[in-house]
Symmetry: C2
Subunit: 367 residues, 2 copies
């Protein structure tokens, strides 16, 4: 193999592909990129067995060929090269020569035969969706996945297509975030579970413009956008029937300014951060919600203006769960709907009916 | 005590004073700010026994008084408050009430009697120097202090005033950085040693405009600037006679573009980073210095253009020491002067005769 390409360009592709490198693996080949010059196209490929990324490199091919190379070392070198054309050549012993201006690197490559074969995903029946929409769907839900590795399924998000609506759902046992988006094409109904970790990777690569093509089979999801092909292995199992968890009724409903409410809760939580439960109390009255926290560090009392429909209520929450939900809402005002102080509360952005964030209260003894 | 002040303003002062808080101390009072409203002035003070910082807070004093308060908790609260006027009040039990808009915090303070007394430094005979000059002097030398806690003295920098010149000097046994600055006033000659850690703190607070007043006694140095008074306890002992270490002669002198040389060395060092010595070799010839590194990861060959005076030379260095020195030089071109490949090399910016960076080579067996 011998190719000539632009440093800046290959450097960008290296950064993208590094997301599917497993530097902690005991298997050296999973720490490698595959560089492949074949049929007039140069590809940079990474695959950690959970996720694969394939990108195309614009390059002049002098001689076709293929090589595996340690991703960190290759990445460190490529990023440090001067902004110029670089030549990458391999010999029969898998040595890699990287030449630029009057200088050169010679590093050891690995046999490409050891590199794992990427899963094949059927690419007919692809769905098309705006990258920005998918990006926001991930951002507004992925923080609520479980961090508990004994609950593998909940470390992923449900991606559901039904009734001309695509939804992403995350649940960790204490809260639930669901983000839907109406699609006007007729898609087949599906339900798959995608690991949250890989959704974060996808999110970091999606841009705010253009579309992403999405496809699925039983084992994998594929995302194609901006010259990037990402294949993610799905989690196997059944997701919680989340729709059953969403309360249908409420006895108390308040409208509050998102930012004011968030700021007050963030301040109130300052005293409770050493506490395991991050406990804060809300006292909902006629025009005011009082947010209080009493810990060994001291006491805090915060007042935020609200409009109230329904009953007064005293209820306690883990402030971290409230804060994470509120931080991901862009709407200026939100509704909070409550049934009792032992039932979940649901947060709905006023300007965005397709987002629901539900969280369980912490039981408190009345005092 | 009862004062009213602006959130943004006190928040800035809190950030400044936090530099002299020792959160690792087992003594709670060293984790505290002292807030003092006395004689019409409100001061925020911190003191970790090595360094003290005193700042003035613009505030309306309703009632004079003094209190100590946990710096991290007070800082976290103040930073999170809305941008408005806040009222800070204490009661006789050292409770602190922080009120703003319709909300309030109540936290426990500490008795101010426990707070250590700040050292007194005579403030006659202060030297005045540009903040920007002092900032650069610190930046260009402090990275070369020793990290070895068995060499206490070398964890500090020599500050020397002699012959109308002020110099900062750092040595760690492998290299020496000396930065001088000509002053046209007649100062008394002095030699003091200031801990590098505290110079870094000072550097982070100095701005690029205005002057700083500097004073010394046997035990402490004082720096007064921008409404900040910083007192640093000096290190006791004798500093190495660094002037003896600077070579007077050379057999080889090259002129090289700083950036090109730095970039090539950074690249060449990529393969040697796992190696303890970060070894790179320079081969100085007529118009070229070749920079090479051969490790188990591979080989690299870099060429940089030079002008040469004197003999050809092969010499090896720890690349980290070269890189750190070169990164702190702003001059476009530098001279490197060598005697032999076992004697120190000295780096001099062409446009800045008052900076010298000297480093020891690594002995290599010829091959």
């Amino acid at each position: 193999m011998k190719i000539i390409c632009d440093k800046k360009h290959i450097s960008q592709k290296v950064t993208i592909c590094q997301k599917a490198i497993n530097n902690k693996s005991s298997n050296d080949i999973l720490k490698c990129f595959l560089i492949q010059a074949k049929n007039g196209v140069v590809k940079l490929i990474s695959y950690d067995l959970d996720m694969a990324i394939e990108t195309t490199i614009e390059a002049q091919i002098i001689k076709e060929g293929v090589i595996a190379v340690n991703a960190r070392l290759f990445g460190d070198i490529v990023r440090k090269l001067p902004d110029t054309l670089i030549e990458i050549e391999i010999d029969l012993q898998n040595n890699i020569f990287i030449k630029y201006e009057n200088s050169k690197f010679e590093i050891k490559g690995h046999s490409p035969d050891e590199f794992p074969k990427l899963p094949e995903v059927k690419k007919n029946n692809l769905h098309s969706i705006s990258q920005n929409v998918l990006k926001n769907m991930i951002k507004q839900t992925v923080f609520a996945i479980s961090q508990d590795s004994t609950k593998q399924i909940l470390m992923g998000e449900l991606l559901e297509i039904t009734n001309n609506k695509v939804s992403l759902v995350a649940i960790d046992g204490y809260r639930l975030a669901v983000r839907s988006y109406s699609i006007n094409k007729n898609f087949d109904d599906i339900k798959i579970i995608i690991p949250g970790k890989n959704l974060n990777d996808l999110n970091s690569l999606l841009s705010t413009e253009g579309v992403v093509e999405i496809g699925f089979d039983d084992k994998n999801a594929i995302f194609i956008f901006d010259n990037i092909k990402m294949i993610i292995r799905l989690l196997e199992g059944d997701f919680i029937d989340y729709k059953k968890l969403l309360p249908r009724e409420h006895n108390t409903k308040i409208k509050v300014n998102t930012k004011d409410f968030l700021n007050s809760i963030e301040r109130a939580s300052l005293l409770s951060q050493s506490d395991k439960n991050n406990l804060i109390k809300l006292s909902i009255r006629e025009k005011i919600v009082a947010i209080t926290s009493n810990t060994d560090k001291g006491n805090v009392y915060e007042e935020v203006q609200i409009s109230l429909e329904g009953d007064y209520l005293d209820i306690a929450f883990n402030s971290r769960y409230l804060i994470e939900g509120l931080r991901n809402i862009e709407s200026e005002y939100i509704y909070l709907e409550f049934t009792t102080n032992i039932n979940p509360c649901i947060i709905k952005p006023i300007e965005d009916i397709e987002y629901n964030y539900l969280l369980l209260p912490v039981r408190i003894t009345s005092n």
